[in-house]
Symmetry: C2
């Protein structure tokens, strides 16, 4: 099954375009998890697995963020492996790693994510040039999400500035991905922030078939209605990510997993206006 | 001791500006290492420690590249920790990770490199904006090397193109680092490729006091004489990195460590034309 087939199937079978971001921040974990489990590794492992157990009915994908696992040191990568293994086979797993490097270094990052951890997709940073993607493009069961337009204030420094005859560097990135999409076996998707719908449309229009990973809904406050409008004519399948807004929803409560499940269900329903096009 | 004090001292005490890049690629390891040790973890650990033992008289710094350790999975980070621990205290240790992310994600990468692994410096990718550096700037015992002008062909796609009124995006990055250098406790350095000296001078001139991490000498073929000229008026201390050219110098030989030591010594001597300004 190719990446885009798996993606389509994951969205159809869950009836959801929600991606749950797994950012296990020790200082935000549920009080009961911290009380009942002694060491950080056990807390993070139990927390992530519980989140997966209670959200899998409502999402198509999970996006574990490497930073939060690596911060535990070597044992953190063991937990990452365990957590990835705990995600049901029919969900898309995106390693949020934002790696960007050349030749054998990129080859080794590919080994890490494709062979060691066997995720479906990775996020990549193209600053060192589009050759940084090459190592990741040889396998049609994989997808890559290239940083194009992010939703943070720092997007003003590079991604939103004019570049190469485009109004925004993000458009240049999208158009270069479009050029490369036929020669890549892996699917070339984009990370597109949800905060300004019109801005993002001018980017996604340049790579119409690119699947999208969209952060910025939820805690960052992007509007789902505006997003739905901007995606109206887009052909690639979007995954809309929420991390903090879901996974810490019950942190002050004993029955925290119920709050997490409730928030995921709520977000799934809010996204129906978008999801209905793909199911 | 601040980062720049430690850097100056490391260069002065070794009489060298050489940085040895630790890129343990399983397919290039010495034949005798592969014959005598069964598992990849032991091979990588023994290889890196042997390289350190036989090059420490000739270099000021080591740059272990995370990709090659992560490719071994969770156990790879244990080896990374062991290898970093094996590096003498008076050497600069740069984790080549090229991370670039925002807010709590960046905070967690900082925890990984500063707290868990306790390296002196990291390489960072600024594409998501200069806010991605913030988490790393609060500690004056640390340095960061920001990607500015790399030596790979892909540098043509972004870093060598006009941006923000500069002839090259690399110059914009340098000038932004210069602006931020007074408000940062950590030292803000740059990664500058050695392949085209005149090009690199136009970048380093904009951040005169920035320490430099310079790849592209050795296997990539940059000229040391041209580099020396271009650094003539630069005030920041350069570390000139060689990876493959040194660490695999003896891979076909039983006495491979002697070849490694010889290559490191030879490179140290070639760099004297640059080093003599800092000792």
């Amino acid at each position: 099954m190719t990446f885009t087939q798996k993606l389509r199937s994951a969205v159809a079978s869950s009836g959801s375009t929600l991606c749950v971001g797994l950012d296990p921040n020790l200082s935000l974990l549920p009080k009961s998890v911290k009380r009942d489990l002694l060491d950080p590794e056990s807390q993070v492992s139990f927390f992530c697995k519980s989140v997966i157990d209670h959200t899998q009915d409502f999402c198509a994908a999970y996006k574990p963020n490497l930073a939060f696992f690596e911060a535990l040191g070597a044992s953190g990568l063991e937990i990452f492996e365990e957590v990835v293994h705990h995600i049901p086979d029919d969900k898309i797993i995106i390693a949020d790693a934002k790696r960007g490097d050349i030749s054998t270094t990129a080859e080794h990052y590919k080994k890490t994510f494709y062979n060691q951890f066997n995720v479906d997709a990775v996020t990549l940073n193209p600053l060192m040039g589009f050759e940084t993607l090459d190592a990741f493009t040889e396998d049609d069961t994989k997808g890559i999400y290239v940083l194009a337009l992010t939703s943070n204030p720092g997007a003003d420094d590079f991604l939103k500035k004019p570049f190469e005859g485009f109004d925004m560097m993000a458009q240049y990135i999208a158009s270069e991905l479009e050029k490369r999409s036929n020669s890549s076996k892996a699917h070339l998707g984009m990370v597109i922030g949800a905060t300004q719908a019109e801005l993002s449309k001018s980017v996604t229009d340049l790579h119409k078939k690119g699947s999208l990973l969209i952060p910025g809904i939820g805690a960052q406050g992007g509007s789902i209605e505006e997003l739905a409008t901007s995606l109206n004519e887009h052909e690639g399948i979007p995954l809309i990510n929420s991390s903090r807004g879901i996974i810490y929803a019950g942190s002050d409560h004993e029955n925290w997993t119920e709050h997490v499940a409730h928030k995921a269900k709520e977000m799934k329903e809010k996204l129906n206006i978008i999801t209905k096009r793909y199911v």
